[in-house]
């Protein structure tokens, strides 16, 4: 009984919920659960992920409001299946979130199907405690090796635009073999532009995309925050 109440108290005061805003994403990252869509169509893997995507829906704005009201620290829009840029109510939500300007909104994004004007509008709607965290694993020429389908150049432009408009911008960089040599350049870039660079030790390696031994997490994902 006490444990249950302590759980609720801790989650309300310290927790930040991980919110799936839809089941839509345009990327084809090999270790994403969506990659099962590449399995044979008569396999269980394919059927399960297809069902999961089909039963998903856009987060109703009313539910988003309930979540933001409950969690004192704010909310994190971070999908297992989706990217927040595809949520049709993102702009109305950002507008609503201004009624809670002290709550943090963390928007984790890696997809790139919008244009720079869209980001301008999104950033202008973002209050001082909104953070945009971009998943770019390497520099412009390498990130799409894991983030298949990503227009990394647009996302770099978006990060820079965000900084110009005074928005908090984070760069989440999963370290793979192919981008290990670019970390120093990434630090310089982040430092120059006031971007918070977070290096990620992840389990997302595969036979074709390897993770350097020293960048493998002990167990679950590890993030080295603000490396610059």
């Amino acid at each position: 009984m006490i444990d249950h109440l302590e759980f609720i108290r801790a989650q309300q005061s310290l927790g930040m919920p991980n919110i799936e805003t839809s089941s839509k994403c345009s990327l084809q990252c090999p270790q994403c659960t969506r990659a099962k869509l590449q399995a044979p169509k008569d396999s269980n893997k394919y059927k399960e992920i297809k069902l999961r995507i089909n039963t998903g829906f856009d987060l109703p704005l009313k539910d988003a409001e309930k979540l933001l009201r409950f969690f004192d620290s704010g909310v994190m829009l971070c999908g297992q299946l989706s990217d927040a840029i595809f949520w049709p109510d993102l702009f109305p939500f950002l507008e609503f979130s201004k009624t809670y300007p002290n709550k943090n909104i963390r928007i984790m994004t890696a997809a790139s199907q919008k244009n720079i004007e869209w980001y301008k509008t999104a950033f202008e709607l973002s209050h001082k405690n909104v953070t945009w965290a971009f998943g770019i694993d390497g520099l412009k020429d390498t990130s799409m090796i894991y983030r298949i389908g990503q227009n990394s150049e647009l996302l770099f432009d978006a990060m820079l635009l965000g900084r110009t408009l005074g928005v908090k911008i984070e760069w989440h960089y999963i370290v793979f073999d192919y981008n290990l040599h670019q970390i120093e350049e990434a630090k310089v870039f982040a430092n120059q532009h006031g971007i918070i660079l977070n290096l990620v030790k992840s389990n997302r390696g595969s036979d074709s995309i390897k993770i350097p031994e020293e960048w493998k997490p002990k167990r679950n994902k590890e993030i080295i925050y603000d490396i610059v």
Binding site: D3, L67, M76
Partner: protein, 107 residues
Amino acid sequence: MTNYIRPECMPYYYDESGKQQYNARLSQGIAYTSDGYLLPCCWCDATSTKKDFVELGFYDEGLKLSNNKSVEDILYTNVWKKFINIIMHDSVNAPRCCREKCGIIDD
């Protein structure tokens, strides 16, 4: 076999001797799924572990967020109470993802 669970969604846990120990931080927040339900954390929101949470009642229609006035209404239900009791005191019967992600196996 998992000796005990050190849940990253809880501020503390009980070690093998039953002594309460504190987590350095609450690293896992509750998850809201693409079909409108709340789960203890995003690691629980996987196809491979869904069956466990269906059996525990997390996917009962009445626990859908849109069917409730607030997040509290869901978290105070017996489904969540029972889940917390399992991960804190009955690790053998905890969902697979809780054992895999937060389970401690002492040699």
